[in-house]
């Protein structure tokens, strides 16, 4: 299934007309679109996240094309479903590069997919701008020159929660994570951070992706005697866990913490999400001019607030846009040079794409899911904001010194 995002034909025609005018009678040449490859998980356990990310990309592309495109060229999105399988992702990305001439990639959902794609980037001479990939290694030991991460990483999301944790009266913690790269990586970071904050880490359990019955895991959490339980779950697994934890009244005894609170989950589980505390990569309520403009036009387009992965992916698109404009080209070497050190004021405020490890330095947020009068669904409310310097780890690092 390939869907080519609608490039307004008008732009092509206008560009063609302009070219023929400038060319003074020489044959009219339509401007090549800037093709952006999106091997995105739209089905399977992480499909709901991929769908958010795709929507953000489409929204961004529409905005850009409405203003005449990028470098005078229309943006064309080439979207393929990977179903979350890394070997699929590599194959589809390769097809995009070889068949469609794509040199820019984004919107890859899972970290294991991103880790599979990264080593290929040099061979493809392509730039990959992460929109949500969390694994700390992508800007650490697995960093490749053509990879950039303008979004909040897993360790950064965890960092915001651990900073919040230091002030909390809770002492003993347990964890449950998804049994793949992201789950283990984030749990390691949390364990280290919790210990550094003088808390006791009682252990963690990992559930295979696609787990449906969490009853045994809930038993284990309850038996651990922890006051808080850290969740590194996403998509359907997260929804199943929260629904079932609520049915077992786990929240009465254990404060559930998560690396990230996403609205997709809140919509899927409703009141079962109430009380959950976690980082948010992007809360739509942020008070800055870029975000207000973004939220207003998003609401006009879709009639609802943007969700977390939509905001984060959108920021990545805006960073990519700024880099292309600064480079004046989409050649990998030029975009890379433009990206390094780039500062963008986007929906989350100031983001600096530091040159040393290609991680975007940005603020971190902690939210709590609350029930508000007049709203059908519970909403995440910002309870703490931390500055970029405290949130972003040192270059190539996944952990923090303090």
């Amino acid at each position: 299934m390939t869907t080519h995002s609608s490039v307004p034909r008008r732009i092509l025609l206008q560009s063609a007309a302009a070219a023929s005018l400038v060319g003074g009678g020489r044959s009219a040449v339509a401007v090549d679109p800037i093709k952006i490859g999106m091997p995105v998980t739209l089905t399977g356990a992480l499909g709901s996240i991929g769908t958010q990310m795709r929507q953000a990309c489409e929204f961004w592309a529409k905005q850009v094309n409405a203003k005449g495109g990028l470098l005078g060229r229309p943006v064309e999105l080439i979207i393929e479903d990977t179903a979350g399988n890394p070997s699929n992702t590599v194959r589809k990305a390769q097809e995009m590069v070889e068949r469609n001439g794509v040199r820019l990639l984004t919107c890859i959902v899972a970290s294991n997919e991103a880790l599979a794609v990264a080593p290929k980037l040099a061979e493809w001479d392509a730039i990959f701008v992460s929109g949500d990939n969390g694994d700390g290694r992508l800007t650490g030991e697995s960093l490749v020159p053509n990879f950039f991460r303008p979004n909040t990483s897993g360790p950064m999301g965890t960092r915001a929660v651990t900073l919040w944790l230091r002030d909390s009266p809770m002492k003993k913690f347990y964890g449950i994570g998804m049994d793949y790269a992201w789950g283990h990586n984030s749990m390691d970071v949390f364990e280290r951070e919790a210990k550094r904050a003088g808390k006791e880490f009682l252990g963690a359990v990992f559930s295979p992706t696609g787990t449906k019955d969490f009853s045994t895991y809930i038993t284990k959490i309850r038996q651990s005697g922890a006051e808080g339980c850290y969740l590194v779950l996403a998509g359907d697994d997260n929804n199943a866990f929260l629904s079932q934890a609520n049915q077992y009244r786990l929240g009465d005894k254990v404060q559930l913490l998560t690396e990230q609170v996403d609205e997709g989950s809140i919509n899927a589980v409703g009141d079962a999400a109430v009380g959950l505390v976690g980082g948010s990569r992007y809360p739509a309520t942020l008070d800055n001019p870029a975000n207000k403009a973004f939220v207003a036009s998003w609401q006009k387009e879709y009639g609802r607030l943007p969700q977390m992965f939509e905001g984060d992916q959108y920021q990545s698109c805006v960073v990519l846009q700024a880099a292309i404009e600064k480079a004046g080209s989409i050649e990998a070497a030029k975009v890379r040079a433009a990206m390094e050190g780039l500062v963008v004021d986007s929906v989350k405020g100031r983001v600096e794409m530091r040159a040393c490890d290609h991680q975007g330095e940005q603020a971190g947020f902690v939210v709590k899911v609350v029930k508000k009068a007049g709203m059908e669904r519970p909403v995440p409310e910002v309870i703490a904001t931390y500055p970029a310097k405290r949130i972003t780890p040192a270059c190539n690092k996944m952990s923090y010194d303090d």
């Binding site: 739209l42 089905t43 399977g44 356990a45 499909g47 709901s48 769908t51 049994d179 359990v205 990992f206 559930s207 295979p208 696609g210 787990t211 449906k212 019955d213 009853s215 045994t216 895991y217 038993t219 284990k220 309850r222 038996q223 998509g235 359907d236 929804n239 199943a240 629904s243 079932q244 049915q247 077992y248 009244r249 009465d252 997709g264 989950s265 919509n267 899927a268 589980v269 409703g270 079962a272």
Partner: protein, 289 residues
Amino acid sequence: MDLLPFLLVQCLNALSQAALLFFLGVGLTLIFGIMRIVNFAHGTFYMLGAFLGYSAARLSGNFWLAMIVGPIIAGGIGAAFEVGLLRPLYRRDDSAFLMVTFGLTLVLGDIIRLLWGVDALQVAVPDAFAGIVFLFDEPFPVYRLFLAGAGVVVAIAIWQFLERTRLGLLIRATSQNAEMVHALGVDVNLVRSGIFGIGCGLAALGGVLAAPLVTASLGMAGNAIIDAFVIVIIGGMGSFLGSLLAAVLVAFVQVFGTYYFPDFALAAMYLLMLLVLVVRPGGLLGKEA
């Protein structure tokens, strides 16, 4: 947690899970036993059940109605599919059925995506079962007790249906020798459509009942079809009692396996299947060895 409450809670966890696995596996095994068709679309009917249940519960405000309406609609679609697309293929070899039912998973999956969208949907536990009971001070959801009970009731109902009713007799006869039953003047095609519809309806019932635990989502089908095949293979292709036994066995292995060997949570079910296949290649209660 002391040993006794722990064992009680874990056994009830396993039984509630066994009920869901049974609803999933029994339809597949009935269809295979009678029609010799491997219904690849079974997981999709399970997912369809969850979404139909969501809509029925939302429109009527009544989960009980959803439990009836979801399986009936899904069963009707299944029966119509059998009449329209499977019946013309009975003279072909088995691969034709695989292709057609696999095609149905794709079409039905996309229809569900178009009708309900891509987001996971919340299905609330019915109010009557939303509470908890305390088992030695351990809170346990009433809904899980209900699931285990529903599993027992449905198992007995299917058993009685197959053993005591005339239609059940015809179904058993058709599974043994369809041509002879046909020669005796019974409309075998009707029996086949019926059993395909019932099988799909049972999967959908599983989906309706699972939705409060896992939400209604597009990821359900892929997971479910694998579980359903494992149940059918362990229990023995076509064996009703086998699917019941397999569902209970798999649920207990999963619940206790996950507890004691969390690193092998995923492998436990397949190791069990491997073991059964080595000892009894036809499944626990399967006919051919």
